[in-house]
Symmetry: D2
Subunit: 369 residues, 4 copies
């Protein structure tokens, strides 16, 4: 049975929502690996190592539609990564004359790590869009209700009078920080290291090839001879996406708490959404709840990535590298889902300034006691 | 676009391997929810609350093949869980006469939590089988090579002479402990709490209904009126499966280290597997590497589950409950994959007593310095 | 500068509270190691390997008051564990005639792991007491206010009428499960493995010595020849204490939420506690807040322990073993602190049935909309 | 019993090593809080809100030596943070005329968060120094042995010939990235928000006061009215220090693996260090092992901080804020310890080019098979 047909995720509605889900699909990952192979051939042509028509022939074959995705993913189990069957398939596609120029001097990790940088970049663009949309929506809510007086709540207790504008300002700032953190991961550093990781397999033009490779991929090239097992790019990615998930979680938490029946200062309103299987009168802030649930997956995934990042031994890690893949893939998706759910929550949000005023009055009575 | 068609996992070969992948598919989860609905109706018939034929009619409709899985999972996003659309579909299937008896007095969490117990039980059976097979294979290797002298290695340094039997004994013990821990999760406690969680919606026969419900599902019924938000079953599950993943990781780590070219006391041998995209002479212990990579996902998932378990507020959690689902689903799969990969590794394992002897002799020379 | 004088914890009031703090102090750990050395000598006398008076002389010296704790802890850095300087000191204390019988045939890990079992056992007794006290207090509150009607809250929304008894029942059940989980760690399995871990250094009486050793320590002896690097005891410990911390966190979360000014159905009342640096009228549920804060440390520590448990290579781990120590030590303390804070919170708890009734009435008005 | 006297850490030699231990002591934290109070008074004088002599009198009292540290830390348990007793003590010290100007318009979180920024900055300076020293030492080793041929090892298998210079380059790059990440946390953003978090308590000169406050502390001031519960500074800190710990762990792992008896290409040599309690001939790379052990604590702490960062509700968090403190404190220390241990390891490192050459020759023989 093929890997993809064995399951459709029961909880994808929660943690594989929004455009990042498609940007991290199996085909999307394989396309990114093919993009890296095409960029490599192109860079070697740029450096005069292989003829331009050879590179063009390789690039022409680097389209995932030309591959049997399920078969490649199934064969990935044999060598421990998808590049091995992908390169075999690519060589077959381009024919014997061009085949020797495919994956020339490279090793699987050159391609997988470059593909990772591409998938992260593409996902980061989507999440950046989502965060900007959330910020814009927050600004609209703030513009409309920002001056509404409300009681501030510290440690769950009524504190002193404030305004709803302080809430929306806080949301905007957190989401803006999140967007900046995500944007900083759009150009992950990659290495063109070859079998030993030190780049010597690429010969005297290694530096030029690496520069062209990075430019073609739109990523940054790492230090020349340090190899694949220095994982600060992975760790930096983990920290940044973890920050973004936390920012989304905080806003969603505020929505959930302000939407409590006992507070009722905001609510999510949408046709068909938020109902209960047993209580027709209930109106649950499902989008904020889902944003929280998706975002709560992130810290554990960050810790997995950091453990892995610190565990790459010698010139190629026997486990820690492979362990990064599903955790990174998942961290992209859960953060993307959290942001998408949050956008939905903010779009559904209705604000009740009257209830804010009533709670504030009530608070004054409590303080009098 | 349906949730399931948007992606086939790029890294499923690593972390969705073995029988647990199918046992945790979207259809498998929905079937488990339908099993819970059928058990509920059956239990209510057992207690004389609804007519037996009504319960039978419900049970007859509780087959996932009769539902549009993708549509149900897409609609799950509206109310925040799959039970809401599933119950709607079920009521339509059984017709207006029987419909009122569907999901009677229950709430979504009654069903989702019971389905979780079923999916865990089914997955536990598979992982238990895998662990027993791994133990048996370890015993066979031990029987054949257990008396081979080898140097023990502590903190990476040659220590004193030992035998390979000490290694296989250690592996066997760890995997046996893992099997016991997994087996202890086959009967997760569930609650039949209804909308408020305290079971009162089920009326005076609550206890009898709950007992029948649990018996029909093959799980344990929890304390009667404590509700859904006391999550020691989730936490106990997390700990047990985390233990099993760690046990598998340890054996895989030993294989990877003993298979180092510089040690060479064991190797994985299999046609077609373990090759390199750049180095034909290499022979990588891919199955052990993959087992480690899958198992390394577990601790982060356990921490997510424990955070969630401690964060269920009041009578139903607004996020922490939903956060459990993907983490639990993933923990089942990564542990299942780790055990499956480990089985493969042990099946491929060849032991080299001559190399052990040579390394031991060499060690004596080192100690002489 | 000695290790102990360099700092007094700024946040010990939060995470080193209650009797577990003393049970996990530096002197307490060293005493546990000395207890293990005394038990080893005793067991070897029991088995006839060394003279009884020799064992008695060793036992007589095994009191931490006879050692310079700071010096031992400073010297621990040289060999990577405290047993090395402790054994040196012990040999000096007992004099040259008895010295050769100290730590006979053992290795550091025999002693450190046994000491860990002792520290866990002693801490578990304290936490068990704390949990039982919390359960008793919960029962008293339940007995007094259990029949008070209140609105149940699911996903933050008013659901249907329930009683406060459902809340206290849930608390009691969670804390009872926690006590059972903690109690199961009172007899951690230990190994007497010697330098290679396979026990052969102890000669033909290894099994008898190991049995006497375990009996004297009040712990369980592990399988005979599997060595030190099979860490299911560590993983089981981590899961159990993680479960207990989650159980405490859940109760504390309920207190914090029910104590919100907007709900006000419970409050912590204590002279001098719960004030604000800026708002005199505030009454913060500080003990519940602190319980949550302490308990939130646990999941990350559990994940550290599980990562370590799966990473013990070959016959002694070069890092993963050492990594267990501070995480385990900390998990004991944060869980102990969470339980202690929770006890305090429950002792301070006042329940307001009038407010419950008022909120319930208000809820009926909300449902009418 | 005072908090500080109840324990001296058993494992401080491992995870409270180097200058960060002192920079994160209880007195160091209280001094940072006093520095924040002094800066606040100074800033208010700068803005003309209080007389300069009043601010000077406050600053003159803000020295931790003038406080009973244990008493303050014990009293911290009453209100849930140390600022409350510290402000009480400070007001007493300055006398009734000046007392009203102490902590004017501020809330505890203003001070605790600013103190955190100071403790992080001071710790970052130490860790930066340590990383630079490690980089320098790596460069020296590289300059001396960089051209030594050695076999590269990928997935534990001999790959192709490389040089030791590739190893030291990789180490240098990772540690350089770590230093950059740490340096970026030297100016954490803080907020001067007052009781409601929106800064209004500080009146019309809030912005000026906040600017002076930040300048005096050498930190950055956050957006003006967003309050305390937007925690991207905490999340960014966590990611950066997690990255640094991973970088240190990777270098230490390489040392441990290259020092294996079966490889022997490097070793740690130091008088008195690295011995065994049972095997005199062993030479363990204790400093690298300890660096790994300390660094392995980091990912779990990062996940705790990210969970907390995403869980700050409304205007002040009832648990998530308090949960940050011990985790942040500990993350500073374990990362500081890992870097300190790594420095020690690199200073002790001896390189064996002859063994490298011998292993490379042996590798050629293996490939011939």
């Amino acid at each position: 049975m093929s890997p993809s047909s064995s399951r459709s995720d029961a909880f994808g509605f929660l943690v594989a929502r929004g455009p990042v889900a498609a940007a991290t699909s199996g085909p999307a990952w394989l396309q990114a690996m093919l993009d890296a192979e095409a960029a490599l051939a192109g860079a070697q042509a740029d450096a005069g190592e292989i003829p331009r028509p050879t590179a063009d022939a390789i690039a022409a074959a680097c389209h995932v539609e030309r591959f049997d995705v399920d078969a490649v993913l199934a064969d990935a189990a044999l060598g421990g990564n998808a590049v091995i069957p992908l390169v075999a398939g690519l060589r077959e596609l381009v024919g014997p004359a061009v085949a020797p120029a495919v994956h020339l001097h490279a090793t699987s990790q050159d391609i997988v790590d470059a593909a990772t940088a591409l998938v992260v970049r593409r996902s980061a663009e989507h999440v950046g869009d989502g965060l900007r949309a959330a910020v814009a929506h927050t600004a609209r809510i703030g513009a409309r209700y920002g001056t509404s007086p409300m009681i501030s709540r510290t440690l769950g207790q009524h504190a002193v009078a404030s305004t709803f504008g302080a809430v929306t300002t806080r949301w905007r700032d957190g989401l803006t920080d999140a967007a900046a953190a995500i944007a900083a991961t759009q150009h992950m550093t990659v290495v063109l290291g070859g079998p030993s990781g030190d780049g010597t397999s690429f010969g005297e033009h290694h530096d030029r090839i690496a520069d062209h490779f990075a430019r073609r991929l739109g990523v940054w090239i790492g230090p020349r001879s340090g190899g694949h097992t220095q994982r600060s790019p992975t760790a930096a990615f983990a920290g940044a996406w973890g920050l973004a998930a936390a920012a989304a979680a905080k806003v969603a938490l505020d929505v959930v708490l302000l939407a409590q029946s006992d507070i009722g200062e905001v609510a999510e309103r949408a046709d068909g959404a938020g109902g209960s299987s047993s209580m027709a009168h209930k109106h649950n802030p499902i989008a904020a709840i889902s944003a929280r649930a998706a975002a709560m997956q992130a810290p554990g995934l960050v810790s997995t990535l950091l453990h892995a990042a610190g565990g790459h031994e010698l010139e190629r890690a026997a486990g820690a590298w492979h362990a990064e893949w599903p955790a990174l893939d998942q961290l992209l998706r859960v953060t993307g889902s959290a942001v998408d759910w949050l956008q939905t929550s903010l779009e559904r949000l209705v604000v009740d300034p009257d209830r804010m005023a009533a709670n504030l009055t009530r608070s004054a009575r409590l303080a009098d006691h």
